[in-house]
Symmetry: C2
Subunit: 376 residues, 2 copies
């Protein structure tokens, strides 16, 4: 990390002050991108788009020093590189970011021949200050993302991920490892695209979350809407894929895995209860017929794939399952890629956040905001 | 400020880590309370209730070293004092905090014989680290709260207020003064009780708010509901006062001043546009008849006092006025003391926060959270 001038003022206080921060140094951070699917490619564009504002308002500059993917291998240059020279421009900013899971559209799990030593060598060669981890979700193990994030902390970089696997499988370990190394482990893009849900609750010290419910998976939401309009599950899925909402393999969405993983992440972080994925009751939308969906909509009680969690003595009860909800209720109105979360807490009996029609950049934005948080 | 042991770890990182923070010092802060109406008295109780958690989780301790009000005068003791020995226990935790304006129920503007030198002497004698400013709102001038906050920064204390006057009349000056002194100027309790609206957007660097709309005044919301049920304005007001929602003098609520001041605060801070109160078109609920309200509700389009702001070339257009809204729309469902804010931004096209039936402690909680933010 290069420091042009030392200063004790933090970027956070500058942001609050909104003032041109004379006398405060601009720091330049070396950024590395692991996984070059839609999320990280959109992030690179967004960083370029906001470069001036990051510099002027937050006193943050950056250079790209590492890109890596299954196809590219490990590319690093501590003096900076042009990611566009390595990234195929297809899909970027033409399709929606994968709002269903925050993962790359096309990335596959890293092959086993990409050994941990490769990641370490790459981070070292790139002199990485920040790792953006956006490889594909492995629901069963959270790997290889967990190893990548461990490697980042060992190297001395902040780790920012759009991957829910590490939260569900290794949250406490990675949190404590980050704290021990004085680095940040941030993951706002894992739930509700880039809306700062976790940071929102960071801003509510001593507030205790008793439970929550909501709609968190866009793919099933779009599919259910299509089936209400008369499409079969397969036709509705193809439509969602054509819109860029659903991934090629939408099994994780349709069977409720994506929603369950997000539910587990919220329970783990916001309710501070360790929960295994297997502890969350899970039912997907595969058994719902177009006829049942049309009837439910006609009656004013459409089906939605609802996530619920409630603190109970000794732990938490959580379920992801289709529910009939009143059409005019907050959840009944969540259509397409919108999402909704309602929390019950001791101070605020009901606190709800609605994200309507997230834009092209919402998921990638969460990583950018995590970057600012990490270095502020 | 007493430091038991020096450490570079911030309370914020401890909070994220959730871990018992061995090796991190506990700091004790001297707290001073100016204005001893419902808000500050509830805050004192809440601080006592959360003392253990503040210490264990955030490594923050405190002692009360100053209380002041028109009735009490200026009481200070740097070794700590028992606020309960000075505070009449009536009303506290028996009635709702004044969710309409976040102000004390009974406090009146400071008398002119309370000179600025008194505040300064009091802060000095109390060795104040944090000032909780909760005197009454003066819509026209923002005084004397502005002077109190200036005095806090001059003394070297953080200033935390539930008073909207300083935001509307002196935001930039106080923000810059705080930054120059390395202190914090925080005011989460001014809008939507203690929900961290301003902090939420602090967590969204480079996001630009284009506009917002919502319902922010509880008193008129409760009154409109009462009038739909057949009460006159006066009867509905008396009911709201009996519930502890409305202040003795509810003119500011009924004529839309409170909602306009909140709208101005949001524009000033979140849209970074300087706006005068006179620039906000304002119409209260005084001209609405019970008959008109009943008819509107019957037709499914009830009246609400709606706040709106929209960025336009060269500034902002803002209005507070009664509107007919669809009963099943998000605003149509905001009843009683609930509130709602919907933002349009460049990254998130629609982002809404709903606060349902805020609890007894919601407004005072915002001051507690500001305290943690200020010293973290």
């Amino acid at each position: 990390m290069e420091e042009r001038r030392l200063s004790t003022a933090s970027a956070a206080s500058i942001d609050r002050a909104l003032a041109p921060a004379r006398g405060v140094s601009i720091r330049t951070y070396n950024l590395c991108f692991l996984g070059l699917g839609n999320v990280n490619r959109t992030l690179i564009r967004l960083l370029e788009d906001r470069a001036q504002e990051l510099r002027d308002r937050h006193r943050i500059a950056y250079r790209f020093t590492g890109v890596a993917s299954r196809r590219l291998g490990w590319i690093a240059d501590p003096n900076g590189l042009d990611p566009h020279a390595h990234v195929a421009e297809t899909n970027v900013a033409r399709t929606l970011p994968s709002t269903s899971s925050g993962q790359a559209l096309s990335a596959k799990p890293q092959k086993s021949d990409q050994k941990l030593s490769d990641v370490r060598d790459w981070l070292t060669k790139a002199q990485a200050d920040v790792l953006f981890e956006a490889t594909s979700l492995n629901v069963e193990t959270g790997q290889p993302a967990i190893d990548h994030i461990r490697a980042a902390f060992d190297h001395g970089a902040h780790a920012i991920t759009a991957n829910k696997g590490p939260i569900v499988h290794a949250y406490r370990e990675l949190r404590d490892l980050a704290a021990a190394r004085g680095k940040k482990f941030l993951f706002e893009s894992t739930v509700m695209d880039g809306v700062p849900i976790f940071s929102f609750f960071d801003q509510m010290p001593t507030v205790h979350v008793q439970g929550f419910h909501g709609i968190l998976n866009s793919t099933t939401n779009v599919i259910l809407g299509g089936m209400e309009d008369g499409l079969t599950l397969d036709e509705a899925l193809k439509k969602a894929q054509a819109l860029g909402v659903a991934e090629t393999d939408a099994t994780h969405d349709i069977d409720g895995w994506d929603a369950a993983v997000k539910t587990a992440a919220l329970i783990t972080v916001l309710m501070d209860i360790p929960v295994r994925l297997a502890d969350i009751e899970r039912e997907g939308i595969r058994d719902l017929t177009p006829q049942a969906l049309r009837n439910a909509r006609r009656d004013g009680w459409p089906f939605k794939l609802v996530c619920r969690a409630q603190r109970v003595s000794g732990g938490v009860e959580a379920i992801v399952a289709p529910e009939k909800v009143l059409a005019t209720s907050p959840m009944g109105k969540i259509a397409g890629t919108s999402s909704y979360l309602h929390f019950e807490t001791d101070i605020f009996p009901g606190l709800a956040i609605t994200e309507e029609n997230p834009g092209l950049y919402a998921t990638a934005y969460g990583l950018l905001a995590d970057f600012v948080r990490a270095v502020s």
